[in-house]
């Protein structure tokens, strides 16, 4: 992360139109890519849970959803802070921003749902269904700027002949993506372990295990 920050602030060249403000791009984009990966992981783990009923998959789905919501929140926040000086407004209900906000709502709802259902199996089943259905919004968010004209700029990566990045910007983006990937898997692994412990504690409580037994 330190190397990524150094690259963002000292290595990447200053963009011609937006100046230093464009440096928000590296963490903004990395947050979103990792959020997308997290929600696809939620869907994959949810399918595995429904097929195998191994509790480890439910733990993985929960961990990925929580870290995904973290990165989505970061992406949305950095986006609005970028929007104000760039567009003159904090927020607008265009296709990209709306689908992105809906994605955040779906998985925030997913985490709330998990908190409301007491029975662990029922909770895992309901969450798995929502986790799978919610992932359908990921391609919608991704392609929204290609399918519709939006306030959000057109893609700079794989966005056609007029798109592209300076080579040093590519290197900076690569460093940030690598740092975010490491951060993601560290947070995911930690949260998954905690989810496993939480489930065991919950099961022991439900069975009325004697303390110190």
């Amino acid at each position: 992360m330190t190397v990524a920050l150094w690259a963002v602030f000292f290595y990447a060249p200053t963009e011609r139109t937006m100046g230093d403000l464009q440096r928000l791009f590296y963490f903004h984009l990395s947050s979103w890519w990792l959020a997308f990966a997290a929600f696809l992981l939620v869907a994959g783990a949810s399918v595995c849970w429904l097929r195998t009923r191994k509790p480890g998959w439910d733990d993985a789905a929960l961990a990925a959803a929580e870290v995904g919501v973290l990165f989505t929140t970061a992406g949305l926040l950095m986006g609005t802070i970028w929007a104000k000086p760039a567009w003159g407004i904090w927020w607008t209900w265009d296709a990209r921003l709306t689908t992105a906000f809906v994605l955040w709502l779906i998985y925030a709802g997913y985490l709330m749902l998990r908190g409301y259902v007491d029975d662990p199996t029922r909770r895992a089943n309901l969450a798995a269904v929502l986790g799978i259905l919610g992932a359908a919004d990921v391609p919608l968010v991704y392609f929204s700027i290609r399918w519709w004209r939006t306030q959000h700029p057109a893609p700079v990566i794989m966005g056609g002949p007029d798109s592209g990045l300076h080579p040093d910007m590519w290197i900076t983006l690569g460093i940030c993506l690598a740092a975010f990937t490491v951060l993601f898997f560290w947070l995911f692994g930690w949260r998954r372990e905690l989810a496993r412990d939480e489930r065991v504690v919950e099961a022991l409580r439900q069975r009325g295990f004697a303390e110190g037994s």
């Binding site: 947070l187 489930r199 504690v201």
Partner: protein
Amino acid sequence: MAYLVAGYAAFFLLLFGYLGRLALLGRRLARERARFAGGWQSAQERVWTDHSERLARERARLAGGGSGTRSGPD
């Protein structure tokens, strides 16, 4: 420049907030583990065994229940 700093500050506030949440959750679970003391390992194994047994019973019930008959009180 202020917006750039605000954007990165927001990111790190969120990240450290989440790390704090995980640390607190870990501490709470560590306390729970201490409460269950030496029984934790065996209890953990017992929970997995219970889950597998319940799953096996459920599978057997589904495999045997294809005739449409119902068992148990209405």
